[in-house]
Amino acid sequence: MNALFATLLVPLLGSMLMAVVPRCRIAGWLNVAFAATTTVTSVILALEVLRSGPMLSAGKFFYIDAFNVYLVVLTAFVATTTAIFSRPYMDYELGRGRLNSRRMRLYHAMYQGFLFTMLLALSTNNLGILWVALEGATLATVLLVSLYRTPESVEAAWKYFILCGVGIAQALFGTVLLYFAAASVLTVPEDGLLWTTLHGIAGQLDPTVMSIAFVFLLVGYGTKVGLVPLHNWLPDAHSEGPTPMSAVLSGLLLNVALYAVVRTKMLVDGALHGVSNMPQLAGYLMMAFGLLSFLVAGLFLHRQRDIKRMFSYSSIEHMGLMTFAFGLGGPLATFAALLHMTLHSLVKSAIFVTVGHATHIAGTQAIDKIRGLIRTQPAVGWGLLLGTAAIAGFPPFGLFVSEFLLLVATMESWPWLTVALLSGLAIAFAGLFRNIHPMVYGNQPEGQLPVQANMLPVYLHLLLALWFGLAIPAVLAHWFDQATQLIAGKGVL
């Protein structure tokens, strides 16, 4: 229990402390330290949950089960490795004069603040607080997107803010409707936003209200997930902010938003089960959105000229895939989605870290200016190449496993959709590699010099992805399976 509070409090404290620490160099290290501490406590928390099962705490305010605890650990872990990368990276940016120390302070404070909101969103039992925390995550990151104060970054931040704000407002309306549905069933309406309570009475909730609520929630949180056609903010925000921010946005924020969607889907499924003429409504909607996002984002990949933008489209694509998988339901697809979520976070953040170094090497984010990375700095070049191979779903990297399972699951229930999935995978793959190829291969341009790069996080993440691809560790498999049981009602093991 204390582990949970520690997990939440450390980043909160960190955020406050960072806001007042003046010296940047220490701040970078502090950032790492806070994130690392969070990781440690989150692992302790995870072990606790593993040992004693789901737990409620602080007057039902927090609820930790198998589904969210692994996301907590993942969030803390990726935040830590990204923080490790962020320290030298941001120092370099400071050295280049793109930032001043005041903005560095803002950056670090908001980094921790963002971490806090994410962890809060994951661990809370209250759907209202979940909303608050997600909105908080937007607020924490929006100023970071415009950190460089370039016209593009301001524009991106504005779009991010407005679109996510509007989206999330719709989610709030959905939450209100949810509360409304619960309040008409419950004797103590105050508990009507607690997920545990709602999940218990899901069968009694009014199906029509729930489906309307789900539409609002899906459009709302779906905006944050980056589902097409609500995705427009995402590439802008990812490409214009500082790279560590892109890494955590892509690797974590999207996950948490999807987490929210899945939680509500579980409720809606419960409410619609057996009483409605369309019991799979939530699943169908998610599948449709997921597939659309997946296909459209794959096509977008072909036309990119900014490397970070390209990878943010790749994030949309993968979120689409996960949404599709969760929508498909069933143990296998759910397991695949959970695995994909984990691996996508790891690999995508690794890629953004590499991309950060690559942009420093080339001095630009423009794809056609980045050339010959393998020659200039093999570690970065190979990191980018292998990371892209991993994200494209090549075995032995783990994303292949999840895609494989997803395909098999699709084959079982919707055989013809596999054609769409496969062509999407192929198109996306071609889009990624046609751009990556000239960047990593070939001769380096004149005057392109290696930079001091910390590739440890990248290779750590890729090794993890490799490990999961070859053999999912028993603990993790058990975890995923428990989460699968929660979501799909039945495990795969």
Partner: protein, 671 residues
């Protein structure tokens, strides 16, 4: 024992990859450690494969894979056979490699990449062959594709190499996805990924057809069947030559293995129409492959197209086998299968031999184009001789091995008369005639290759100054050449051993090709057809020996060396020789519509006197499949991407309205 050997083989190749990591810093490591380890791996694989082929199947489970589905490994006779094939070629490559990679020793190329990915590539191929569940198969398969992609991109400073690597990876990925989906279809009916489950799955004919089509597409893409071959002539030539040998010699056979495994073993119930499709596609590949090869001037590109031809021949034999099996003629089915696999083995040997030879030539002359070679037999007598053996073998001339498998395929085709269907009775002999045409063109192709590159006079300074390649390189070629001869002369022994393979694939009967002892090949029955390669060789030797003795009696005068007759126009120069392009000109004219030809003759005239001072001939040979298949797809994707890009207009109000209308639409949808 067999299992240990196979495990040893895989571990060795992985170890080679691991050691390769250090090769960038310690450059000698590649020669001193990676290649020896690969060689050991090859030996172990060959030994293990042989043991499995002659003994019983072995199986095991690995502590890897999905939690509920550990990777299971099984090697039966078919796997053993392909392992043997892999092992032999890998061993030869390992002997060849150390001398060959000296070329890269002082360059800027990352030797670590070469070492690591060669090891992984070999390990991937070995794992594919022994995988016993779809999941492990796919992982190993893609490992093979991915690592060979990195090898193709090894010399990435050249733009064509990058393009080739991208194309290769893309097509490998698409093919891999198709295979995956094929397994998905089987798994959906079987309820699991293990091969035993898939084998037991009962598929309705439609879905069986879908599974077959996907497998054929996927494996055919890897194998390079027309029109899915576009990557092959791009990728094989640009890899380092020993890798080209592995890719053309072995990886394509792994694709054949996959196809045989899925079609004959897992799906099991074969339909006649599948066989016809495979036969026709195989014929097209064989014919187009050889015709395209005929117009290439890059030696490795030529060999790559020739691989398409040979894969076509293999698939023709497989198609025959499928037709016979579906028509209830299991004995003939086995014959076709053996013919296909024997050709696979032969092609592995002689194509590796040729690629290694090409590697040696390129290393010594730094020329890729036939038009810049010439007279190399005198400069590189060993390479030249072994290359000649490879050429004779691949041109399917007796008494070498290529002929044996082609002969078996033709024999199988001639049994088409036993079939009920009149259409098949016509289609099959016509396909056999295609095969004959292919073989004849193949002979012409290799006359062209050998004659232009190794005979005549050197066309460039580099060819004139070529020096002997290293001892290891020669030894590797000698080994493969010897095997070509052995397999050509004693096919009965090998085919006898291969008799276990049909048995392993759903209990097909042994075809009884070797029923008359080691001296004879008698498919079907001795009265129908027989061939005794040893006696043929004996006859050739006798005739040669007799006449040599007769003509070299003591009264014979010595041979006098003198300039060739120059028609009195002054000395012959190398530029007067027939070129590769001129050699294939008649064929170019006869089969004109096959290629996208861009042939130009430029007349160079003196500006003042208006006299013709020279002619410049330019020839571009384009592959039609691009214009017909690939470019439209590429255009379609780009057009779709352009359409889609309009979503991201940059205007926030537009974005808001997306959100707005999505909401309204969904609300309308649910009420």
């Amino acid at each position: 024992m067999a299992l240990q050997l196979i495990a040893y083989a895989v571990v060795m190749s992985l170890l080679s990859a691991l050691v390769g990591l250090g090769a960038s810093r310690y450059r000698a490591l590649l020669r001193l450690a990676c290649f020896p380890l690969l060689g050991l791996s090859g030996l172990a694989a060959a030994a293990g494969g042989l043991l499995v082929l002659t003994g019983t199947a072995v199986a095991a489970q690995l502590p890897l894979g999905l939690p509920w589905l550990p990777w299971s490994v099984r090697a039966d006779a078919l796997s053993g056979f392909i392992l043997l094939l892999i092992g032999v070629v890998v061993f030869a490559v390992a002997v060849f490699g150390p001398g060959y990679v000296r070329e890269f020793q002082h360059g800027r190329h990352s030797l670590a990449a070469l070492g690591v990915f060669t090891g992984l590539f070999v390990a991937g191929m070995q794992l594919v062959v022994i995988a016993d569940d779809a999941f492990m198969f796919m992982v190993a398969w893609e490992l093979m594709s991915l690592s060979s992609y990195f090898l193709v991109a090894f010399q990435h400073e050249n733009a064509p190499n990058r393009r080739a690597a991208f194309l290769y990876l893309l097509m490998a990925h698409v093919g891999g996805l198709a295979i995956l989906l094929g397994y998905g279809v089987l798994a959906a009916f079987g309820g699991g990924f293990g091969f035993d489950v898939l084998r037991a799955a009962e598929l309705p004919p439609l879905w069986a057809g879908v599974a077959f089509a996907l497998a054929f597409f996927g494996f055919g893409m890897k194998a390079g069947l027309v029109p899915l071959h576009a990557w092959l002539p791009e990728a094989h030539p640009v890899a380092p030559s020993h890798i080209s040998a592995l890719m053309s010699g072995v990886m394509l056979k792994v694709a054949v293995y996959g196809f045989v495994r899925v079609t004959f073993d897992l799906i099991g119930t074969i339909q006649v129409s599948w066989g016809v499709i495979v036969l026709l596609v195989g014929s097209a590949s064989a014919l187009l492959g050889v015709l395209y090869a005929m117009q290439q001037s890059d030696i490795k590109r030529l060999l790559a197209y020739s691989s398409i031809e040979n894969i076509g021949v293999i698939f023709m034999a497989l198609g025959l086998a499928m037709i016979f099996l579906a028509a209830g003629q299991p004995l003939l089915g086995s014959l076709g299968l053996i013919a296909a696999l024997y050709h696979a083995l032969n092609h592995a040997l002689f194509k590796s031999l040729l690629f290694l030879g090409a590697g040696a030539v390129i290393q010594q002359t730094h020329q890729h184009s036939l038009e810049h070679m010439g007279g190399l037999l005198k400069r590189l007598p060993y390479t030249g001789t072994f290359f000649l053996i490879g050429c004779i073998s691949i041109a399917s001339l007796p008494p070498f091995n290529g002929f044996v498998s082609e002969w078996l395929t033709l024999q199988a085709a001639l049994q088409g008369v036993v079939l009920e269907s009149g259409v098949l009775r016509i289609v099959i002999p016509v396909a056999a005639a295609m095969l004959a045409l292919t073989a004849a063109l193949g002979a012409m192709l290799f006359v062209r290759l050998y004659g232009i590159a190794f005979l005549g006079q050197p066309r460039t300074r580099q060819s004139r100054q070529a020096r002997l390649p290293s001892r290891g390189m020669r030894a590797a070629q000698a080994l493969l050449a010897l095997l070509c001869l052995l397999l050509g002369v004693t096919p009965a022994i090998v085919i006898d051993v291969m008799g276990a393979i049909p048995q392993a694939l759903g209990g097909l009967p042994e075809p009884g090709i070797t029923g008359q002892g080691w001296l004879w090949l008698t498919p079907v029955a001795p009265a129908v057809a027989s061939y005794s390669a040893p006696l043929v060789l004996l006859g050739l030797g006798l005739a040669w020996g007799l006449f040599y003795l007769l003509l070299h009696g003591p009264r014979q005068k010595r041979v006098r060396r003198i300039h060739a007759w120059d028609c009195g126009f002054g000395p012959l120069s190398p530029r007067m020789q027939y070129t590769a392009a001129s050699f294939s000109m008649p064929v170019r004219r006869i089969f004109q519509p096959v290629w996208l030809l861009d042939e130009r003759v430029e007349r160079i005239t003196d500006a003042r006197s208006q006299r013709l001072t020279g002619l410049r001939h330019q020839l571009q040979v384009g592959d039609r499949s691009w214009a017909v298949l690939y470019e439209p797809i590429g255009r379609w994707v780009l057009a779709a991407a352009r359409r889609v890009a309009r979503l991201q207009s940059g205007n926030i109000r537009t974005y808001l309205s997306y959100s707005f209308f999505t909401l309204l639409f969904l609300l309308w949808l649910i009420t």
